[in-house]
């Protein structure tokens, strides 16, 4: 049977190569893999061409079992009072589908700077369409994944000189382009953003709410949400641990034909070091993103095809992986999950054990919809109105945080660039002028001035050194801020989907209540939907609470670190100047 899909909205072709489709029309696809967010296929009239992948839902096997859930994401309140680029594509209740369509169309052709994020750009696997791809296979495991060119080739230099002001001209635009290329080349993965219309479906949220998920949850796999001071929280990890990432070393295999970087992981709870490569992190990330529908899995540092072995890049990636590991071990659910533990504990030399664990993880049934089965909510159900208000508040918050972190990132980037170029140059020019003056003074033939001339010369050297201090400083106190912001940009990019799942569940509750009123659904069925929506809501709020906790922890620590470094820096400058001043004592 040919692969078919049903159109969810009208799409009017506007460019050569596109074909129009009408809502509910059945189309035939040439491939289940989209190309840069587009499917190629034949519409009901027999016209062949491209149409947006998110305008259709793929029909698998029995077409009648596909849920026509294109209105699943309606929300009682609308906070879309102004269109922010990141949030512009989240549909709200009662939105004109054609307006949605326009947004989506834009998104396919022109990735918006705000839709991508600053540092760690990571393609998220599309679970519904290409689970095979995201699982990888044992056969190609030995390929050097680090080499796979799903990103643009040019290395990403820090502190570029972007003319103009504001976040839109900042490196984000470059990141956006890179993301675009990646989609074009990779073709196997599609950003979650582009398909968020059906996130509720793809995540398994809908199936779970409708009671279609089934699976056996062992007691040990239970994930508890408890009621804390500020609302639902993930139960804390009773055995907290951390994990260092050190000694990135270059390794070779196939008699030197292939080389890669190996990182040494030191988990505190096992106290046994293991070696892992970037591709292992990448594989793990894919497992986690697939498994946890309402948990914000931290993004791993972006891939880079060329210059992989340059020291700067390795150091930057190591720092990124350390941040990532910190967020993983800090998360009560992620830290304890089997696949992460396998990753942390499996011996680097025991190939067999590794492959066993790998296969087990890839065949894990407790993913997506089934993940929710493992969640054990607090005894008292939540007030959905309160939940809705909290979620909407958080949505507004993430939007503001996204904007302000983008701006801070741009400012800090520019500040770093200025210190490395302009500030350094200014101090060194003054230093040079003092040196030249002291050289001119040295020609005065007056013995009593030689100490002064030496002191002025030393002052010149001091300014030269201070210029160097300025250039060295960003690495110590601005780069870490940018690393932090990059990580949080990743989280902020995750939340629209998470919120979408919760809102989808809430819509189902409202629909079910309406159905009950109309006598179309019996009471117990609606109660089940409400209970399951409660579980999703508890998990979502617990995740939000966790986000705030680590955010406060991280930003506090980073601001303190930054200020401490700045203080040390200015003290170092002061010492240098004091040293210079002393030279005049005997002059």
């Amino acid at each position: 049977m040919a692969l078919q899909a049903r159109a969810l909205y009208d799409f009017n072709s506007e460019n050569p190569g596109e074909v129009s489709v009408r809502e509910s029309e059945i189309v035939t696809l040439f491939s289940q893999q989209d190309i840069d967010g587009w499917f190629e296929g034949v519409n009901g009239k027999g016209e062949r061409g491209l149409f947006p992948a998110s305008y259709v839902e793929v029909l698998r096997g029995d077409a009648s079992s596909a849920h026509n859930n294109n209105n699943s994401s309606s929300s009682g309140t609308s906070v879309e009072t102004h269109v922010d680029s990141r949030y512009a594509n989240v549909p709200s209740a009662g939105t004109d589908p054609s307006a949605n369509k326009a947004n989506k169309g834009d998104n396919f052709s022109k990735p918006n700077a705000f839709n991508t994020f600053a540092l760690p750009i990571q393609q998220q696997p599309n679970h519904a369409y290409n689970s095979q791809q995201s699982q990888g296979s044992d056969d190609d495991w030995d390929d050097d994944w680090d080499d796979s060119s799903t990103v643009a080739d040019e290395p990403v230099g820090r502190y570029r000189d972007y003319e103009g002001n504001g976040a839109s001209t900042y490196s984000l635009s470059t990141a956006a382009n890179r993301g675009g290329n990646a989609q074009g080349k990779g073709s196997a993965t599609v950003s979650r953003n582009l398909n968020r219309f059906s996130t509720f479906v793809k995540s398994g949220g809908e199936a779970f709410v409708l009671g279609e998920a089934s699976g056996f949850v062992k007691d040990g796999d239970k994930i508890c949400v408890v009621m804390g001071q500020y609302g639902p929280e993930w139960q804390e990890n009773p055995y907290p641990f951390t994990c260092g990432i050190d000694d990135p070393t270059k390794q070779t295999k196939f008699k030197g034909m292939k080389s890669y970087i190996s990182y040494k992981l030191s988990p505190t709870h096992t106290q046994t070091q293991v070696n892992r490569r970037y591709k292992h992190f990448d594989w793990l990330y894919a497992r986690l993103a697939e498994k946890f529908p309402v948990i914000s899995v931290p993004h791993i540092p972006e891939k880079q095809a060329t210059g992989r072995f340059e020291e700067d890049f390795i150091s930057k990636r190591q720092k990124g992986l350390m941040w990532w590991m910190n967020h993983m071990t800090s998360h009560p659910v992620l830290a304890r999950c089997d696949v992460f533990q396998h990753f942390l504990t499996c011996s680097s030399t025991d190939e067999k054990a590794w492959k066993q664990g790998k296969r087990k993880a890839e065949k894990d049934e407790m993913v997506g919809a089934n993940f929710f089965l493992a969640i054990s909510p607090p005894a008292a159900p939540l007030d959905f109105q309160e939940v809705e208000s909290k979620i909407d508040g958080f949505k507004t918050f993430t939007k503001r945080m996204d904007e302000s972190t983008l701006q801070l990132n741009a400012t800090v980037n520019e500040f770093a660039r200025k210190q490395i170029s302009g500030f350094k140059k200014e101090y060194q020019r003054v230093g040079l002028s003092f040196k030249i003056l002291s050289q001119a003074f040295d020609m005065d033939q007056e013995p009593y001035s030689s100490r002064l001339n030496q002191a002025i010369s030393f002052t010149g050297d001091a300014y030269e050194a201070i210029g160097e201090y300025f250039a060295e400083q960003p690495n110590k106190d601005l780069d870490p801020i940018m690393d932090l912001l990059g990580l949080y940009q990743g989280h902020l990019a995750n939340y629209p989907d998470i919120i979408h799942v919760q809102k989808g569940a809430l819509t189902k509750v409202k629909e079910s209540q309406k159905h009950v009123e109309e006598g179309k659904m019996d009471h117990s069925q609606a109660e089940g939907i409400t209970e399951r929506c409660n579980i999703i809501s508890c998990a979502t709020l617990a995740e939000i609470q966790h986000f705030h906790r680590i955010r406060v922890r991280d930003f506090k620590a980073q601001m303190q670190h930054h200020l401490q470094q700045q203080i040390s820096f200015f003290q170092k400058v002061t010492s240098k100047l004091e040293e210079a001043l002393q030279k005049y004592d005997d002059a």
Copy 2:
């Protein structure tokens, strides 16, 4: 009898309005005042037009008594190995006159940036031609001299943004233009530089060397040069004093029709305050420059026609006058001279006493050539070869110092501009971004984060304040450097003339020795010339020694001041950051 002049070199007219003159040709002048360095007159062929004033020597009374001394400045050694703009016009022995001419021609039409100096631009009175003008007169004394527009009208802003690099594009070029304008408008004064070919004559140096100076020197007026550790020195002032300049206040007269700024002078040796206006300083400067041929009279701050009462300008002029006063009171000869003492001590309210002293100073006979009569040299005569070597070394030194101070001035000016604009902006942008982040965080609805948000907000304020610190700093530690450099640029502009007088005297000695060998001069006459050349040489070397002493003193003090200020600045920045860091303690 018509005013006549004798051509010293061939001049070929190249532009309409000019007339050619041949060497030795007698020309008739329409006025003894040149216009922008040019005389108007009629040449031997009866052609009327312009020719360079420095190409001729004005004949006074008996034409035959004019000395044809255009080769007076020959020097045994030539250090003119490369042409520096300031020194390019100083002729050396055996130079092709046409080459000199070309230099001079250039100089008239295009004032070179290096021929003027950075801050205090002061037109020097031309003693030979317009002593009447430089003396002023009692009749116009009450005119507001401050208003006389001998400078361009636009106020001179600090820290301009000059595109391009190097000293030539720096504000010096503007200063050069201003000088050019000043000559065009003022017409009464000619820069010493333009006429330095006859400085030896005009200064009275030649007349003195040739034994033509006569005057009665009272014992109290004797100026002693003593032999010190490093050569001839001015005898120290046995009654050293300083003089403060405070409280610039706006005064009005003629019922408010005229207004001016009055400065309060507090000399320590009389402990009686007097009030003086800028025009008094200006008048005094003219007297001193006229009186002392081989003393580098410090230049007073430049005139400014508009914005005279703006606070910045008043403060800048006050600082300039304080620097000037410091150099006056530090100079053993200048500090003690009558006209300066009159200026410092005459009661501000006793009009009669002031005018009496003023007239006495303007009729002082001990100026120029006669000044040398007052000098009492050390017992042992100097070795002229050694003197020549010292003078040549000093000439090289001043050239290097001039270049390096120009460069330092340009660098410091640019550094100040960057701190006021760029540095401030960068810190304040970072501050604003922190503020915006704290505002976004304030929307998180989480009570436990409010202290962190406050701390981040405070950090934003701290960066805002640090930006302001950067902008305020140049006034404290860079402006004083520029003031100092400006004052020294003035001194460096004086030295070519001073050196010229000494070299002229030395040439006369060589000529006289030749004349004696040829039997054209008797021995005693030649001995007299040698003795008087010794006096000029002692005075010149004493002045050079004094220059080095105050230079070492001033640059040491200024460098120390600068570094102390910089240290305070960085400590203030550090304190602000420490204050911000503390806010995180309870966050």
